[in-house]
Amino acid sequence: MSLVEICFWALSFVTLVCALMTVLSKNPIFSAIYLLICFASIAGHYLLLNAQFLFIVHIIVYSGAIMVLFLTTLMLMNLNEETEKHKPAIARIGAVVAACILGLVLVSAISKTALVLPQNSGAVDIGAIKVLGKILLNEYFYPFEFISILLLTAMVGAVLLTKKEHKITIK
């Protein structure tokens, strides 16, 4: 077992366990922490897969932006206690069963695949910033610009929804 393999297994183990803990923790704060670790381990995967740029972006976006957003909201709403009631037992069992079925079906369906690595692969550094940048601003220029609309929408929307109402009466 090479080092890489050990890394892979270790990271995968951490990822899955942390994800599971995220799901199972009663306290949302703990969930968030586990999620953070989970994201970090995924970042490790990215490194392992030679996607250096994505590694960085991932850390920034998820660990930096998204997790902060989550935690802020949690704090804002003062939900850091174990307030969450469980769903009724039947719903939880249903949830577990359904998810397990989905997982099993997905895994068994995927296991039918016969992906074999092509021989000539692995020569170019596809994850390098330079390479990605070129692609992003050439081929994917339009989606790249277009995604700004998405972000703009989200921004405007978030503001629209969260802004406190000022009483305006026009009659």
């Binding site: 989606p143 929408t153 405007v156």
Partner: protein, 456 residues
């Protein structure tokens, strides 16, 4: 291409307009802009198909005609906004901007040539809708609608995205052309088919097909009425166009994988939509379930791979949207008077507001598929083509169900003539009347001369 760009700029203009203090003129300007963009787009209708930006977008007859349809829908709904946002003018530009952005998403969805554009388009549309569903902030129902929509929508996006990923994994590309080459040329890998199924499921969610339809009735009911109209028209048409575009280009060769499932789901969708609508009291909810049923009908376009379905699908989308907008325009007036979206709210409208009632009746007839309205031809074209693809039992089933559906469409008509104390003394806003009039007029024109609206 230019449609999308210009529309994006129009959306940004809306945001800027707030700064320029153009609030009063905003809606006319936007409608004007949409019309201009429509005109520019129309010029491309008969142009050769072309691809832009490294094959991110492809304009062809399909994309142009659906873009026009989306523009028309948006223009009508934005016009309705003139009155709808009266009480909340400070946020007018935000609302309009988001609607226009949703339109951008929709246009991307009808003209994509790459999964990236497809995905981003869907997400823009969806996120806009999440926001719009929740815009009535004080109303718990609106909050709930937004939440339900958001949770389920993002979940479904995940499924869809998983599908795209698996397709990419199998084919090594996000380009539709490459994917279809992969599907045609080689013995595709198992994950390719899983990808197809997951994309299918994701899109079935977006078009609110059973068993992924649960969000639709609740969201439609909870959202502000204008937004309901938008979602059930713009959202549905764009999703179907994307659905059709993706599947007809890439996946129809793999029909055997999903064909049977799709047929069963179509039947299920029609059935559930129809039967659920029967005993509803809320106008919005009836239209929501009717939307589910109609989604079932339109899905036949996806599952009929041997027919030329662009035309029927377009026509169906057109007639369905126009009828829905027409109906909502009247309902907006009624709910503004009665503060209720129940069917009873319409009681007695026919005696006080005969014109509006007639328009509503026509709209309902059209959705129910009664000639001479466009809805009839829509159903006819769609079913006839589906029959050509051998969907004998499915069409028969659909027909039987459209008989049942008449009941709930007519429930509205009955209400119009029922006795009531409501006097409807408020004069309806001319905008509502005009929009309903335009929509119904188009329905009749399209019903009398369907050829005019069959660009294919």
């Amino acid at each position: 291409m230019k449609t999308l760009t210009y529309t994006s700029f129009l959306g940004i203009f809306c945001l800027v307009a707030e700064l320029l203090n153009l609030r009063k003129l905003l809606i006319p300007l936007v409608v004007l802009g949409l019309v201009v963009i429509g005109g520019l787009t129309y010029a491309d209708l008969n142009a050769e198909s072309a691809s832009y930006f490294h094959d991110m977008l492809r304009t062809d007859k399909f994309s142009v005609s659906f873009s026009l349809l989306l523009l028309l829908i948006t223009a009508l709904i934005v016009s309705l906004g003139q009155n709808f946002f009266k009480e909340d003018p400070s946020k007018l530009s935000d609302y309009i901007a988001i609607i226009i952005f949703a339109l951008c998403g929709g246009i991307a969805m009808v003209s994509f040539a790459n999964m990236a554009m497809f995905y981003i388009g869907i997400e823009i549309l969806s996120i806009s809708f999440y926001i719009l569903a929740g815009t009535n902030k004080k109303d718990v129902k609106s909050n709930e609608a937004a939440m339900k929509y958001f949770l389920m929508g993002s979940f479904a996006s995940g499924i869809l995205l998983m599908g795209i990923t698996l397709i990419y994994g199998a084919s090594g590309s996000f380009n539709l052309g490459d994917i279809s080459l992969y599907a045609t040329a080689r013995n595709a890998d198992a994950i390719f088919f899983i990808g197809i199924i997951l994309i299918l499921i994701g899109l079935l969610f977006k078009v609110s097909a059973a068993p992924f339809h649960f969000w639709a009735p609740d969201v439609y009911e909870g959202s502000p009425m204008l937004m309901t109209a938008l979602m059930s028209t713009l959202g549905k048409v764009a999703s179907f166009a994307a659905f059709y575009r993706l599947f007809s280009i890439c996946f129809s060769i793999s029909y055997d994988t999903y064909g049977w499932v799709l047929s069963v789901l179509i039947a299920l969708t029609i059935l559930i939509g129809n039967f659920s609508a029967l005993r509803q009291e809320s106008f919005k909810r009836i239209l929501a379930f009717s939307g589910v049923t109609n989604a079932g009908f339109m899905l036949m376009a996806i599952s009929s791979i041997y027919g030329k379905m662009e035309g029927p699908l377009f026509f169906y989308g057109l007639s369905y949207s126009l009828a829905t907008i027409g109906a909502f325009a009247v309902a907006l007036y009624v709910s503004s008077v009665t503060k209720s979206d129940k069917i009873e709210a319409f009681n007695g409208l026919a005696y006080k507001r005969p014109l509006l009632s007639a328009l509503l009746i026509f709209a309902m007839f059209s959705i129910a598929g009664i000639p001479p309205f466009a809805g009839f031809f829509a159903k006819y074209f769609l079913f006839a083509e589906a029959l050509k693809s051998g969907h004998f039992w499915l069409v028969l089933f659909a027909i039987v169900n459209s008989i049942i559906s008449v009941y709930y469409y007519f429930k509205v008509v009955f209400a119009l003539f029922a006795k009531s104390e409501q006097t409807f003394e408020e004069t309806p806003s001319p905008v509502y009347v005009a929009v309903a009039l335009v929509a119904v007029a188009l329905l009749i024109i399209a019903g009398v001369a369907p050829g005019l609206f069959m660009p294919f």
